[in-house]
Amino acid sequence: MEWEVVIGLETHTQLKTNTKIFSGASTAFGAEPNTQACEVSIALPGVLPVLNKQAVECAIKFGLAVNAEIARRSVFARKNYFYPDLPKGYQISQYELPVVGKGAVTIQVPAVGKNAAYEKVINITRAHLEEDAGKSVHGLSNQSIEGMSGIDLNRAGTPLLEIVTEPDMRSAAEAVAYAKKLHELVQWIDICDGNMQEGSFRCDVNVSVRPKGTEKLGTRREIKNLNSFKFMQQAIEYETRWQIETLEDGGTIHQATVLFNPDTGETRVMRSKEEANDYRYFPDPDLLPLEVTEADKARVKAEMPELPEVMKARFEAEYGLTSYDASTLTSSRDLADYFVATVNAGADAKPAANWVMGSVSAKLNAEDKPINASPVTALQLAQLLKRINDNTISNNAAKQVFEAMWAGEVDVDAIIEKLGLKQVSDSGAIEAMIDEVLAANPAMVAEFKAGKEKAFNALVGQAMKASKGKANPAQVNEILKKKLAN
């Protein structure tokens, strides 16, 4: 039987705020335990939560970025469960009325093997604001406290936006493409720092399988807390295989929450449905309904950067770039900014796009550096392109200049001078050189005259060699053609 995998994602994005969602305690990462845990964070009796304006604006930005309905009125609810890193006994979240409703993102799924790349729309079900829990520290070294766990509540109350998709993805590749797209988008609109090691962006993945061609969804298992795209890919592939094998062996899938172990590459059950919590949600009486007016939306919208899709369309229209190139250049805001800066510094758009996606990206990839750490600035790249454009240097020579700049040299013209890369465009000099080449290679000339086109290229090669690569190739072609026609 052929099987189809069905995947939906829930992503917790930590919002870029100075303070917690319901108190004025700092959210800075890496502080000493419990030094950023105020009365609200540790849930002393009698404290009241007060909602952070910045967290709300982040949620509105996200809603606008995915073309979602933004609720005029949304409500905070208590999600009740018992765990030591949640001292209130409940997490403040949103349940029936979330701030962000239905939206969508378009993903680019890269080509794999003989399958071509394609685009797909992934529907967003909702996104809601909630607070993070604290952290449990196990295996404390102190002997006198054996059998105890430590609790650090610095993270308790950190604002999160939980973004939930429809079960729209049909492969690990699609799930990873969506996660990457979302990761880029939340950084683009500046609501999340995207730091996956520090847990600022973590995904829960719901996986189920069904016979291909059927409608009814299979029983799903949820893989919790994936904080790397590589692990996500591996976890989904393992889980899919495991579910298919279980069903083919006559077994049944039970709803469960599982964890992925990167060392073994396997998933294992964390808790099954039978033990699952009944969260007993109810509206939090400590918080009034959140109102978002049209004026609020308009104000936030005015502060937002141009969105990647809009910028992509503009790159195509304004610069005549292909859809693929425009899409690549807008895959991250830093990359787009670098490209625009190169063009604004006077470079033509097409060669600028080629260089940014070609030499610059290749070098960055090889050294595993982000674009904003490129040793060659956009301004330097623009100067280099100018020298190609005005025929001072050839494309090949430009590569040498680029290498020199990458190694730390600064001035384009000084490098050209130093390496002696200046192109010879003086037609008199080129003519004299070609005369010498023709005189030295009578056999090739004879071959060409006998109708062998290849001999022409060989003569061009000889001429370029004689000029040590400095002759303007277009001129060499033209003059050579003229001379051979005589």
Binding site: A37, V56, R73, P84, G150
Partner: protein
Amino acid sequence: MALNITDIKRIAHLARLEINEQEAAATLTKLSGILGLIEQMQAIDTTGITPMSHSQDVVQRLREDVVTETNQREAFQKIAPVLGNGSAKQAVDGGLYLVPQVIE
């Protein structure tokens, strides 16, 4: 909706409350009484009335995103209970609050 003793024990377990049979029976009577009141209210016809989550028609005020809280760890941890098990040590260590081990 009628509650039974199993419901009471489950609710207690979810809240990590330890109750004996006697307490469970007493709680069953009390909680059933509360649900009886709610049943009476549910008898009222509310067709066409928008459900509300709060009794006042006001909206949430928002707080500017500025750090106003300072580190009060020492004051908060001074009131931590003692570990017990014959130890007079307070249930804090290296700035962490201590709780019986939890492993998931």
